[in-house]
Amino acid sequence: MKLGTDPEVEKFRADLADFLDTHLPSEADAMPRSRSSSDMPEWARTWQRTLFDAGWLLPGQPPEYGGRNATLPQQLAYLEELARRRIYQSFNPQGLGIIAASILSFGTDEQKRRWAVPILRAEITASLGMSEPEAGSDLAGLRTRAVPDGEHFVVNGQKVWTSGAHDADVLLTFVRTDPDAPKHQGISVLLIPTSTEGVTRRPFASIADPGDLDFNEVFFTDVRVPRENLIGPLHQGWTVANGSLGHERTLLWLSFAERLDDLIRDAPSREEWYATLLMDAQALKLLGYRQLSRGQQPAELSVLKLLGSEAVQTASLRALEERGADALVHPARTGPYSHMNNDAFITSWFERYVRSFAGTIAGGTSEIQRNIIAERLLGLPR
C-alpha cells in the first residue's frame, strides 16, 4: 500500500492534459446537443475522430484502434482526468465501450476493419440489443431467433431498452441460434444494420420527460443478416456477452464515483447524509483502486456497482429532500453546465434522483448484484 503517484502515470496524465487543452471543442462549437446515446452531432464526431487519430480514444488499444497501448493504471488516470474535466470522449458511449470493444475482442480482422474502426472514428454509431420483454435479469432466456438460411441468418423477435437504437446505424444483437441447447449455450451475436428491411425501431420516453427519447423497442421481422456479420463463434454469444460487458464493468464504478463527486459539488450540506456521501465516494474509489491491482474478479465488481449505484441514489434523494418544495421545480439546472458532458446529469433534483435508478436497474439490478455477492463471494447455495 502506498499513496504516492507513479511517474509513468503522471507523465501520461500530463500528456493528456496538454492534448485536451489544445484540442477541446469550444462551447459554441458544441451547441447542437446530442439527443440520444447514438445521436452524434457533427462536432462530436469530429471530436471523437481527433481523439482516435491522436491515440487518445481508447488508450489501452494499439494505435490502429485509437490507442497507445496504455497500462491499466494509465487507463484509469485517463478516465479520471476526463471525469474531473467533465469530458465525454464519445457521445455514443456504448458504441465505443461495448460494441467496438466486443468486435476488437471477438471479431475477425475483416470485422474490425469494416465495423469497429468506423464506430471508433464516429463514422457510424451503434446500439446494443440485449434485453427483451421476457429477458431482463434472466438475460440468457432471450428468445429472438436467428435461423441459418444459406449465406444468411433470418432474424425474428423483439428487443427492448435498446438505448439510442433509433439513431444508430448498427445494432449488436444477441440472438438464439440453437433453441434446443441449454439456454446459455444457444446464443450468438449478430451485427444488424438498422437500414436492413424488417427492422422497426420505436423510441419511447423515460420517466424524466416526454422528449427524453433514448429507449427503444426494436422489432425484427424476417430480417436477413449476412453470415459474415456473426461476431465470435456460433452459439458462443454468452462468452461474448461476458467479455464485452466485462470491459465495461471493470471501470463502471468510475461513472458512479463521478456522480458522487457531482453531488459533493452540487449539494453541499451540513446534514449528516453529506458525511455519508463523502465516505461513500472515498470508499468507492479505494475499492476501485484495489480492484485494479487485483485484476479481474467479476464478483467483486458487483460490490463496486452495488455500493456506487446505491450511494448515488441515497445521496440524490437526500439532496432532493433537503430542498423541500423548491425541488418541485422542473425543468431546472442544478449543476454547472459543461458542454462536453451529458446534460442529463445536471437537471432538476427530481430528475437526478430518478435517473439514479438507471444505476440500480440497468446492467444487472441491485438484487442480482446481491445474489452474485452472496453466491460467489460468500458461497451461499444457488
Binding site: 500500500m1 453529506y274 458525511a275 452472496a374
Partner: protein, 290 residues
C-alpha cells in the same frame, strides 16, 4: 496510489491469522506476553492495522489495542508493560485504565504520563465481559483523540464484524428449513451481501486512514474520522443482520456469536458512535474551508 497489500503485508496478515487462530484457548497473560515478543506493538500504522483487524476478529482480551493505539500516539513511545491513554477530556470509559502500567493523559499543559497504580480509576461493568473500561479521575484533562486511536478502534471493530459475517454465513449454509438451507433464500442472501459490502466499505476506509497516518498525509484526520464513522455504520448493519440470520440461537449466551456482537457494538460506542464522527467530519470541513 496502490491500495492493495504488498507481499510482506500479505505474509504478515497470514502469520497473524495463523498465530491468533492457534493460540485462542490460551490465557490472557500468555497471549499478551506472546504479542510483546512478536513485536506487533512496534508495527507501523498499516501493519498495525493488519494485526488489529485479526485481534478484533477474535475479540482479543489483552490490552494490545489500548497500548498500541491509546497510549503510544499520545506518549510518543510504547509503555513499560501495558498502557492506555485519556484523550476525551473527561476520563470516561477509558480502555484498560484499570490494569495499565502507564497511562498517558492529554491535559491543558500537554501530555502527562503517570504510573497506572497511582491513578484513581473505577472499573465499569459493561455488556461485554471481556472488555476492560474504567473511569479515570485526573485534573486538567482536554479532548483530542489521536488519529491512530480512531483508526485502531475502527479496524478492530471491522475485524469483529468479519467474524459475525463468517459465523452467519456458516450458519445459513447449514441450517435447513422447508427442506433447504436457509442460505438459498434471497431474503437471507441479500442481508448477507449487505453485511459484506458494509464490511468492505469500512475496511477500505480504515486502511486508508492507516495509510494516511503512515505517510503523514494531510488527509489523515479526516480519514480517521471516516474510518471510525464507517466502522460504526458497518457494525449497525452487521449486528442487526447477523443476529437476525442466526434466529433464536443467536440470542443465547452459549452461542459464540454474542462475543463478537458485543465487541462490535462496543467498538462503535467507545470514542463516540458513528453519528458523532459524521458531524465532526462536516465541522472539520467547514473549519478547513474558512
Amino acid at each position: 496510489m496502490e491500495f492493495e497489500f504488498d507481499e510482506d503485508q500479505r505474509l504478515l496478515q497470514q502469520l497473524v491469522r495463523e498465530t491468533v487462530a492457534k493460540s485462542r484457548p490460551q490465557p490472557e497473560d500468555q497471549l499478551w506476553t506472546m504479542y510483546q515478543k512478536l513485536g506487533w506493538l512496534e508495527a507501523p500504522p498499516v501493519e498495525l492495522a493488519i494485526v488489529l483487524e485479526e485481534l478484533g476478529y477474535v475479540a482479543d482480551p489483552t490490552p494490545f489495542l489500548a497500548t498500541a493505539t491509546w497510549f503510544a500516539p499520545l506518549a510518543g513511545r510504547l509503555p513499560a508493560g501495558a498502557g492506555t491513554g485519556v484523550c476525551d477530556g473527561a476520563g470516561r470509559f477509558v480502555l484498560d485504565a484499570d490494569r495499565a502500567d502507564e497511562v498517558a493523559l492529554l491535559t491543558r499543559d500537554g501530555v502527562r504520563v503517570v504510573r497506572g497504580p497511582d491513578l484513581r480509576t473505577e472499573r465499569v461493568a459493561t455488556f461485554d465481559p471481556t472488555l476492560h473500561v474504567a473511569h479515570v479521575t485526573a485534573p486538567d484533562l482536554v479532548a483530542g483523540i489521536p488519529d491512530l486511536t480512531l483508526m485502531g478502534l475502527a479496524i478492530a471493530t471491522v475485524g469483529s464484524c468479519r467474524h459475525i459475517l463468517d459465523l452467519a454465513v456458516t450458519h445459513v449454509r447449514q441450517r435447513e428449513q422447508f427442506g433447504v438451507p436457509i442460505g438459498s433464500f434471497q431474503a437471507v442472501k441479500h442481508k448477507a451481501a449487505d453485511m459484506y459490502v458494509a464490511i468492505e466499505r469500512a475496511r477500505a476506509l480504515a486502511y486508508f486512514a492507516a495509510l494516511t497516518i503512515a505517510e503523514d498525509d494531510p488527509r489523515r484526520s479526516q480519514a480517521a474520522r471516516m474510518a471510525k464513522a464507517a466502522a460504526g455504520e458497518c457494525q449497525q448493519v452487521v449486528f442487526r443482520h447477523g443476529l437476525q440470520l442466526f434466529g433464536g440461537m443467536g440470542f443465547t449466551w452459549e452461542n459464540e456469536l454474542q462475543i463478537y456482537l458485543k465487541r462490535a457494538k462496543a467498538g462503535d460506542l467507545l470514542l463516540g458512535p458513528a453519528a458523532v464522527h459524521r458531524k465532526a467530519l462536516l465541522a472539520d470541513r467547514v473549519g478547513a474551508a474558512t
